[in-house]
Amino acid sequence: MQILSEIFSFYFLLSLLRGATPLIFASMAGLFSERSGLVQIGLEGMMLMGALFAAAGALATHSPWMGFILGGGAGLIAAAIYGFFAIELKSDQVVTGTALNLLAIGFAPFVTKILYDSTGSTPGLDLSSRFSFEPILIALLVSGVIYYLYHRSQLGIVLQFCGEEPAAVETAGYSVRSWRWIFILVCGFLAGLGGASLSLFLASSYSPMMTAGRGFIALAALIFGKWKPLPTLMACLFFATIEAIQIRLQGVDTGIPVPWMQALPYVITIVALAGFFGRSQAPKALGKI
């Protein structure tokens, strides 16, 4: 009981929402990509680029907002590379996404070496060029807007049909190719914001591999949330809760070795994906171009 009351406090709620922020951005990004029929394994890479350039932008301008936008832009460019291969050249989407992740991992030290003469990290950000709470609100706001667009607007219908029945979209006079480009760029921008909230909000600099699999966990949240905005948001909060409990428990002496607790979110992700809490149906044309 002592442990439980120590875990569930106001600070716990705050740390939960902090942890959920990058996940929410990333899984909403994944929603745009996967709902339009493009398998998105490359979220991790887009987030890394977003995190790196957000930190660089905030360092240069001393404004977290400039960094945030720049991070989104970097994610957008990463997504454009993916889009070029997946939409134009029709390469295998899973392979292309994996290549994007590797590219981001290799590209980051290349940039930090040129800009800061370091082998992977950026210098630390001072308090004025970081966020204190804003990304949480933006993330929740963005999910609200996406919820509205997805369920109540024509855009949402186009998005869903691109992934379910592309031929129908063409028949209705929309170009699937152009719309997929738009959706993949939105996806990149959102994933970039997710990365930016890592380096500007959760941490205070960019460090190598700081996403730590969040791109994949976000994808799992998307699947777990049946590719729908509200359930996906709930799934993100669920994964963030596990993460927050894990971090909290590291500070409490429970007798469980720390690496075991660090593995907990990954184990839970596998269990969730295995459909032990209910199965979900992927968009019909996902991965088929």
Partner: protein, 363 residues
């Protein structure tokens, strides 16, 4: 593979385009692309020691390349080779540390068996989840990678840590476990970590080639990868083959423990792998998942890995992480080149015409 020539040409086009793009990126950092290329070559083949190190990387990459290829052939994408080789190395190292008294011929066999079994288990879990529960193997294998890393840091740092070392590494294995006594490969490459495992890797490639292309089992595995419905109709249980393929893939990645633990360092060092598992994806793609192609492709990437290691010293702005960029760009360009459509060249080129353009393999 009905069109081997076309496959090789596509791979080579992808390779050259990828290399050209990667090297031109160097110019943005203010370096001369040509001199960077020469550094890569010299550092990989400059001396027997350099070549030995390149072959050492090649050996591990053959194992992970085979692992990814075999999964590809069954229609699965194994990005979990990294986790599979981690648990395999962990099992081999733990065996050697906890049972140091086992005599020589049995010790390496025991450690190898336990190692590849651990790798196979790490492949079986995502394979089973994929075929029985429909979980996406990419996400599951990625999660398994993180779990393996956590497991490794727990076992190595809490259970079998070397108290005399400042580095995060395990105790040294019992003397019977090391391959040194039998090792004739190492005599060619003095002081380098190249070892007997190279022969094992080559033999395994040939074995997998025969398995995939000359046995009914291999045929069933490939059939279930190419068309699940059709193979079910023909009485092939594609679910069973998908599970099995991931299990075998895990075992293949697990062989890295022979090269790294028993063959060279004799202990488990945290972070010993320069992401062999992920480079294995590039190896498999360039080889178009052909087990014999994996040998050539692994050698290329092994040389690249070694070549990049000198970039830190010899250039002002390029680090060894540049290898990662080249690998990624090669994956992009090879994956993009897969879809080069030769049909229009065939119509224009008279010597292609003899074969006829009847095969109409465009959709």
């Amino acid at each position: 593979m009905h069109d081997v020539g076309g496959c090789v040409i596509r791979s080579l086009i992808g390779l050259f385009v990828g290399l050209a793009i990667s090297l031109s990126i160097v110019a943005f950092a203010g370096e001369n692309p040509f001199s960077v290329f020469m550094i890569l070559i010299r550092s990989a083949f400059g001396s027997p020691y350099d070549l030995g190190l390149a072959l050492f990387y090649t050996t591990s990459l053959i194992f992970t390349g085979l692992s990814v290829s075999l999964a590809f052939q069954a229609g699965l994408f194994n990005i979990g080779a990294e986790g599979q080789l981690t648990v395999a190395a962990l099992a081999a190292a733990a065996t050697g540390v906890l049972l140091p008294e086992v005599p020589s011929p049995w010790a390496p066999l025991l450690a190898t068996t336990l190692g590849i079994s651990a790798g196979a288990l790490w492949g079986f879990i995502p394979g089973w989840l994929k075929s029985r529960r429909g979980s996406h193997e990419v996400i599951v294998t990625m999660m398994m990678n993180f779990i393996a890393a956590a497991l490794a840091s727990y076992v190595v740092l809490d259970l079998i840590k070397n108290p005399e070392s400042q580095n995060p590494e395990s105790k040294i294995l019992g003397p019977g476990y090391l391959l040194k006594d039998y090792d004739f490969v190492q005599k060619f490459f003095v002081d380098s970590p190249a070892n007997l495992s190279l022969i094992l890797a080559l033999a395994l490639s040939v074995l997998i080639y025969f398995f995939l292309y000359k046995t009914i089992w291999g045929y069933e595995l490939r059939a279930s990868g190419q068309n699940e419905v059709a193979s079910e109709m023909a009485g092939i249980s594609s679910k069973r083959w998908k599970t099995l393929a991931m299990t075998i893939a895990g075992a293949l990645a697990g062989f890295v423990c022979v090269n790294e633990i028993l063959g060279s360092s004799g202990r488990y060092k945290i972070g010993f792998s320069p992401e062999y598992g992920f480079v294995g994806i590039a190896v498999a793609l360039l080889a178009r998942s052909h087990p014999l192609g994996v040998i050539a492709s692994a050698f290329l990437f092994g040389a690249l890995q070694k070549g990049a290691s000198d970039l830190d010293i010899e250039t002002a702005t390029i680090t060894k992480d540049f290898a990662r960029i080249i690998q990624a760009i090669l994956i992009f360009s090879v994956a993009g080149a897969t879809l080069i459509d030769f049909s229009w060249i065939r119509q224009k080129c008279f010597f292609w015409k003899k074969k006829g353009v009847t095969d109409a393999n465009f959709e």
